[in-house]
């Protein structure tokens, strides 16, 4: 009987052999076919991103035209560390926020020392009351207004680290940088350092502005209007 933990562990180990696990299907052919299918769409998407970014950049300030271009050709938009998939949104079953992997509270000074990129504070919001650092100092989050407004600053020189699904994303100018405005709630998935997509952290994000400047990707969430969000973005010191 399981009077000591070791007995229980032995029982658990043995239990695996008694559970009804059917034989696995041979996956070789199916996986090959799956990879071939993905490759085709992927190449097309990468090409699309190049076109999208250059078209969007070339059109400059003509906002309605850009929106049309984006909706005409795009189902994938990308800004440095963040990739946005447009199209129907599948909402996570639990809309409450859950933490990024390995998240911990810290102070602004400690966060500055830990990250490999310059942390900037938006003058429009002031010094953050809460600072968290996640996934080996890849992401630093400032929380304002009781956590309803968040500013993420991410080391954006690597593969996409946030995936978002949003039906109505559009390109905007953030100073000299290109950004994305996502006015409606959308799903956010984090890709951790091992490259694994963590849908565990999928949560609904409010209106969000995403942009990147040099090696850093910024993500400002919870500000209702684009104008105010742009004001916060421009006030980064």
């Amino acid at each position: 009987m399981a009077d000591r933990p070791d007995d229980l562990i032995a029982e658990l180990r043995a239990l695996g052999d008694h559970l009804d696990v059917p034989p696995a299907r041979d996956q070789r052919a199916a996986v090959r076919a799956g990879i071939a299918r993905r490759k085709k769409t992927r190449r097309w998407r990468l090409w699309l991103i190049g076109v999208l970014v250059s078209v969007a950049a070339a059109i400059g300030a003509v906002e309605p035209a850009r929106a049309t271009v984006v909706s005409a050709v795009g189902n994938l938009l990308r800004v440095a560390g963040i990739e946005v998939r447009t199209g129907p949104v599948t909402l996570p079953s639990s809309p409450s926020p859950s933490p990024l992997p390995f998240e911990g509270a810290t102070t602004l000074d400690a966060a500055r020392r830990a990250v490999r990129f310059p942390l900037r504070v938006p003058a429009a919001l002031g010094e953050p009351r809460e600072v968290t650092i996640a996934d080996g100092a890849r992401v630093v989050t400032f929380a304002y207004r009781d956590g309803r407004v968040r500013l993420d600053q991410c080391d954006g020189t690597i593969d996409p680290i946030f995936l978002k699904q949003a039906p109505d994303a559009r390109w905007v100018d953030v100073g000299a940088d290109l950004g994305l405005w996502l006015p409606a709630p959308h799903e956010v998935t984090y890709i951790d350092r091992n490259g694994v997509e963590r849908s565990v952290t999928a949560r609904l994000a409010g209106p969000t502005l995403i942009w990147s400047h040099s090696v850093v990707t910024y993500r400002l969430e919870g500000i209702a209007t684009l104008d105010e969000a742009l004001g916060v973005a421009r006030s980064l010191g």
Binding site: H18, V21, V31, N194
Partner: protein, 191 residues
């Protein structure tokens, strides 16, 4: 680590390197080698009848994400992390479809195959253990499944579940404690 394990690891690393360069035959070696382990993990983590589909999706995704595989962890726990994640996604879709999350949660462990060679008491005890495991919090169950039913090390479990190693250690101890309390409580009320 035995010499055989080390040899397998070397082979995996070579196969991963080749597959990353686009060698589909090399990737097929990994697929053939790890399909069974991935499938078992999917079933024990609750994928049920969808386990084969989960594994297929995970293997295709793993190929696509190979460039992100850092090689510090072996290929197996890294693949299992994708499998665990796909299984969780499945639960969410199922939950949405059924409108009742509880239902998916209850299906999270496969049924027990009674062992005719064993005593009725032993079979009953195993059934109780399965029932209690099913009723644990999802994270508690996941860590016990990874550590003991799938026989992953602490480090491998950390990779597969995406937790820090310290969390795996403390969560395992806590889950074992809870399971033990539940079982003891049950025996108390029975007797």
């Amino acid at each position: 680590m035995s010499r055989l394990e080390r040899a397998t690891e070397l082979d995996d690393a070579t196969a991963v390197a080749r597959a990353r360069a686009g060698d589909l035959d090399a990737y097929e070696v990994l697929v053939a080698h790890y399909t069974a382990a991935a499938h078992r993990a999917a079933v024990l983590l609750g994928a049920g009848a969808d386990a084969d589909d989960v594994v297929q999706e995970a293997l295709v995704k793993a190929y696509r994400q190979l460039s992100r595989h850092r090689g510090e962890s072996g290929f197996r726990p890294w693949l299992l992390a994708i499998v665990a994640n796909e299984t969780r996604n499945l639960h969410r879709t199922r939950g949405r479809r059924a409108g009742v999350l509880q239902r998916a949660a209850r299906q999270e462990l496969p049924a027990l195959a009674p062992d005719p060679a064993d005593t009725a008491e032993a079979n009953e005890r195993r059934q109780r253990l399965v029932d209690r495991l099913r009723r644990l919090d999802r994270r508690d169950r996941e860590v016990l499944v990874c550590r003991y039913l799938l026989d992953l090390s602490e480090a491998e479990t950390a990779v597969a579940l995406g937790w820090p190693k310290g969390t795996v250690k403390s969560r395992t101890a806590r889950a074992l404690g809870r399971l033990r309390d539940h079982l003891a409580g049950e025996e108390g009320t029975d007797g």
